[in-house]
């Protein structure tokens, strides 16, 4: 989700990402926003995202995260995998008894 958000919005700071995820999920995913930061660090360690200091929309120092090439590739693979899983689950959910007979 973080990767996708960054992919769609480009460079973004922590709050922006959290806000965006909330919005996209329609406020259904209202976890503690703080849990985002360890995750961001982990992704950064894995090389999927990079970060640098920048200036936020209200002219304050903020840390901006952006997707790296590796992150983009990872996003693609994970998207593909997720779609596969979703498709399989979907098939299971839609199965009716007459289909199997």
């Amino acid at each position: 989700m973080v990767l996708k958000t960054l992919n769609v919005l480009g460079s973004q700071h922590g709050w922006g990402i959290a806000r965006r995820i909330e919005q996209i999920s329609g406020d259904l995913l209202a976890v503690n926003q703080g849990t985002l930061y360890p995750l961001l660090l982990r992704l950064e360690h894995e090389g999927s995202i990079a970060s640098e200091w920048g200036v936020s929309e209200n002219n304050r120092r903020a840390r901006f995260y952006r997707l790296t090439a590796a992150g983009r590739k990872q996003l693609q693979t994970e998207t593909r995998e997720w779609e596969q899983i979703a498709a399989i689950i979907e098939r299971f959910l839609n199965v009716k008894s007459e289909d199997l007979s």
């Binding site: 700071h13 922590g14 709050w15 922006g16 959290a18 806000r19 209202a30 503690n32 926003q33 703080g34 849990t35 930061y37 360890p38 660090l41 982990r42 360690h45 894995e46 090389g47 936020s56 209200n58 304050r60 120092r61 903020a62 840390r63």
Partner: protein, 907 residues
């Protein structure tokens, strides 16, 4: 990939101590500000907006912790904390740390020392590529009780073409040769080998080449490969050595190659491993007998390399089939009653098999010492745990997890054991030269014993394993304290739990039991050694010196100036005459190497063909047959039982006579009179014209049995022949008298040289020395086990002392109350001593059971004492009980002298 990248970044963060905490705090502040703004936009009051923002973010401290955990490696970080704490704990009680580390150092050091010996011998017996493929091929004739009878050249051809082996090589067993032409004639160890010998071992030359396997000649091919040592010593590492001519036993050989440094021949004795010359030979032509199926090459070894991937068992199966088919094909050469078989023995077994049992015993003994020292340290840890109970309880009360506590305690004990292991290794490194001197010279691969990385790795592994096992138990028990009880009790200054003291008692009992096992083993070995030492050898080694010489045996018998006994007797008589004139010499005699009592190489034996019983050499039993001069028996004090001794009139052209010992008479002429019986010993055809059959030899005397082969073996059949009737190349000069070993060798050399300047004179040894060295391996293992047993006893004494002191300390309130209520001081003493005795009795009971098992396992190493020797068991148990009593009497006395008022006040 990603995981690795993440790990490395975290690791470098850990190593550089970089923290992202500042950055996170800034980010969080920014986050809160943004969220608050958003909230205010939604119409909240500023205070409420900030509150909601903080709520939405979650607990800042938890986030920081998570963030930190992601930033670095919490496991290693905790480990470092634990380590730092452990070091501080060790430094805080230096006495405890020192004793614990010293105990472990002793255990690990001793174990590592023995392991280094085992590493060089049992684990790496053969310094060749793919040693598992190397086998020794042994021919037996079990039907006639003959073993290691040797192979014939046609049989060798059958083996070569059998498809079982990559190649098969017949080799000599190592012998002496005279290198002449340099300043002094040298006697060198040499081995005749088939040209494919080095191919079988899989080793090439460092200079030149080894023998060309396709270039086999029936006899010697007059090429020699020399060792690196000889090349450097005698030829100054001459790079132009190839093609040089060496005069060996008056024959000329061309040097074709120099073996690499560090290459040594296989063999079970250091002498065999020190072979310096390898001569290529085909074993099928002059001077070897003609290659007939029935002509076994005696005292030759056969080594072979199996086809890759073939197990010895599978190869043996193929071989058995081959033997069966050969028996059918040549029924005349393999009479069924001889039951000819071929065995494959791993080559490593022939090299180190003889010392395996001793070394395993030593390793077991040292393992027990290690176990005892670990138990002792575990005991100490437990004792300290009672002191630290309060600390642990407080930490637990503050919320420390049990696993976290165990981890920390384990870190402490691991640190302790590792330090002990390092100290032990360091001690070993410092003392290794001293220790190496203790090892008997007869141990194979003595020179390979070293403290290498593998050995050090072993020390570390042992320390870590011991630290984990023996640290875990105390850690588990310590961390499992009863929180409320301890905190409440500790306030009063006394503590400890029943469980803990029970564990300690069990530990002490096992220590006592283990040391009893060790002491019984040591006692049995000591008694065996003593019995062997005190055994009547049957000959008198007193004031006798043996000095060896070697007559050259050129390949062409016609140029051999000592070819016949008559030719040789001139030399022998002259040596004897001149020796008797030397100062101090009372008696002199001459024999061949087989006549040297003890310590000589396995002479190989000759088939004994009794007139009218055996008709073929193939069926004959094998007997040792020393060659001696008539004075030999008197000089060594071996009494004649019947018949007569040799006389100076028994010459080559008079009827051949022989003297046997009682063992031979019993074995081969049971209930018969051996005198006058005629036998024929298969003789080397060397020295005999054509294919003439050797003449019959008549037995003229029987001498008393003597333990000339091995002190442990009462009597091995021997048949002696006179040097005046039968020539021998490997001569030993025996001298009895008031002799100075340092000068006699030079004096004899001068005398021998003045007769024949090409003869080397070497290896002067008193028979007492020979006797002594023949027991060297036994003495070594006995001394080591005794040393380990003493160590074990000391540790066990310390253990019981510590535990009783601890118990007394724990009970001092009880004792004080008893005393205050009027208990007799004597009964207090009794009470404590009974505790110690109880533990000693339990330990002795378990120990005796263990010792019985162990002593049966080592029955093969015992001599003259049964594995259940009552005096040994009783004596050792008594000693152990005394030590336990002595160790517990100190705290018992302390308990007795307890001042009840002071104690109760202090409480």
């Amino acid at each position: 990939m990603k995981f690795l990248r993440r790990f490395f970044i975290r690791f470098s963060n850990l190593a550089t101590g970089r923290s992202a905490d500042q950055r996170l705090q800034e980010e969080i502040a920014e986050h809160l500000a943004l969220q608050a703004e958003e909230n205010m936009r939604a119409g909240m009051s500023p205070a409420e907006a900030r509150r909601q923002a903080a709520l939405k973010l979650g607990i800042t401290q938890a986030i920081r912790e998570h963030h930190h955990a992601e930033q670095s490696l919490p496991f290693i970080e905790n480990l470092l904390f634990d380590l730092r704490y452990a070091v501080r704990m060790l430094l805080r009680s230096p006495g405890f740390s020192f004793i614990a580390i010293a105990t472990i150092a002793l255990g690990v050091g001793a174990t590592t020392a023995i392991y280094s010996v085992i590493d060089a011998t049992l684990l790496h017996p053969l310094p060749y590529p793919n040693p598992a493929e190397l086998v020794c091929v042994v021919d037996d004739l079990p039907g006639v009780g003959a073993h290691r009878v040797g192979i014939s050249v046609p049989e060798w051809r059958d083996l070569e073409s059998s498809g079982i082996f990559q190649s098969v090589s017949i080799t000599g067993t190592g012998a002496n040769v005279n290198l002449t032409g340099s300043a002094q004639p040298l006697r060198l160890s040499f081995k005749q080998v088939m040209p494919n010998y080095f191919a079988v071992l899989g080793v090439g030359a460092q200079l030149g080449r080894t023998f060309d396997a396709n270039d086999a000649t029936p006899g010697y091919n007059l090429e020699v490969v020399i060792s690196d040592g000889l090349w450097r010593r005698e030829f100054g590492a001459d790079p132009h050595i190839l093609g040089k001519v060496l005069r060996l036993d008056n024959d000329e050989y061309h040097v074709v190659g120099v073996m690499p440094r560090g290459f040594r021949d296989q063999g079970s004795t250091s002498e065999e491993q020190n072979v310096e010359l390898w001569l290529g030979a085909g074993f099928a032509g002059v001077p070897f007998p003609a290659p007939q199926r029935g002509t076994r090459l005696r005292s030759r070894a056969v080594i072979a390399r199996l086809k890759p991937g073939l197990s010895i068992a599978a190869a043996q199966g193929h071989l058995n089939a081959l033997v069966e088919s050969l028996k059918k094909q040549y029924p005349g050469d393999y009479p069924p009653q001889t039951e000819w078989t071929i065995r494959l023995v791993p080559l490593s077994e022939t090299v180190v098999g003889s010392v395996r049992q001793s070394l395993i015993l030593l390793f077991g003994a040292v393992g027990l010492v290690l176990l005892i020292s670990c138990v002792n340290v575990a005991n100490l840890l437990l004792a300290r745990a009672s002191v630290r109970g309060r600390e642990i309880a407080v930490r637990q009360a503050l919320g420390a997890q049990k696993t976290r506590l165990i981890r920390q305690l384990l870190t402490e004990s691991l640190l302790l054991f590792l330090l002990g292991g390092i100290a032990g290794s360091a001690l070993l490194l410092c003392t290794q030269h001293l220790l190496l001197r203790l090892i008997p010279e007869s141990l194979p691969h003595l020179n390979d014993i070293s403290i290498n990385w593998g050995v050090l790795g072993f020390a570390v592994a042992v320390s870590v394993a011991a630290g984990t096992i023996f640290g875990l138990t105390p850690a588990w028990i310590t961390s499992g304290v009863d929180l409320i009880g301890t905190l409440r009790q500790e306030g009063r200054g006394s503590g400890g739990s029943r469980q803990r003291s029970r564990v300690r008692q069990i530990l002490v009992i096992s220590e006592l039991a283990l040391s009893l096992v060790l002491m019984v083993s040591a006692g049995l070995l000591l008694r065996s050694f003593w019995d062997l030492f005190a055994v009547q050898p049957g000959f008198n080694p007193d004031r006798v010196i043996a000095i060896q010489t070697w007559l050259p045996g050129p390949n062409d018998p016609n140029v051999d100036m000592y070819r016949t006994a008559t030719q040789e007797s001139v030399l022998v008589r002259e040596i004897l005459r001149r020796s008797r004139t030397l100062p101090g010499v009372e008696e002199a005699a001459i024999g061949d190497e087989a006549s040297l009592p003890l310590g000589h190489r396995d002479p190989g034996g000759l088939p004994l063909i009794r007139e009218g019983i055996e008709t073929m050499e193939n069926q004959a039993p094998v007997i040792d047959s020393p060659i001696v001069s008539p004075e030999y028996f008197h000089l060594l004090g071996m009494p004649l039982e019947r018949g007569r001794l040799f006389s100076d009139e028994d010459l080559e052209d008079t009827p051949q006579v022989a003297i046997i010992n009682q063992a031979a008479a019993r074995t081969y002429w049971l209930n018969q009179d051996p005198l006058g019986k005629r036998v024929r010993l298969r003789l080397d055809t060397r020295g005999l014209p054509g294919s003439a059959k050797p003449a019959w030899t008549t037995i003229v005397g029987v001498i008393a049995d003597a333990r000339t082969e091995s002190l442990a073996d009462a009597a091995i059949p021997q048949i002696y022949r006179s040097v005046y009737q039968r020539s021998a190349k490997d001569l030993a000069i025996f001298l009895r008298g008031q002799l100075d070993p340092s000068t006699i060798s030079t004096q004899v050399r001068t005398q021998v040289r003045s007769i024949d300047p090409t003869l080397p004179v070497f290896h002067a040894e008193t028979l007492d020395e020979v006797l002594y060295t023949s027991l060297a391996v036994r003495r070594f293992s006995m001394e080591m086990v005794a040393f380990f047993a003493a160590t074990a006893l000391l540790l066990a004494g310390l253990g019981i002392y510590g535990t009783i002191s601890y118990l007394v300390n724990e009970q001092r309130r009880e004792i004080a109350i008893r005393l205050a209520l009027g208990a007799q001081r004597g009964s207090i003493l009794n009470m404590v001593l009974r505790r110690g005795l109880g533990m000693a009795a339990a330990g002795a009971g378990v120990g005796v059971a263990g010792a019985l098992i162990v002593s049966h396992l080592m029955a093969g190493l015992l001599y003259g004492v049964s594995a259940t020797d009552l005096p040994t068991f009783a004596g050792v148990t008594l000693v152990l009980t005394m030590v336990a009593l002595a160790a517990s009497s100190i705290p018992a006395l302390r308990a007795m002298r307890l001042d009840p008022i002071a104690t109760l006040h202090a409480e």
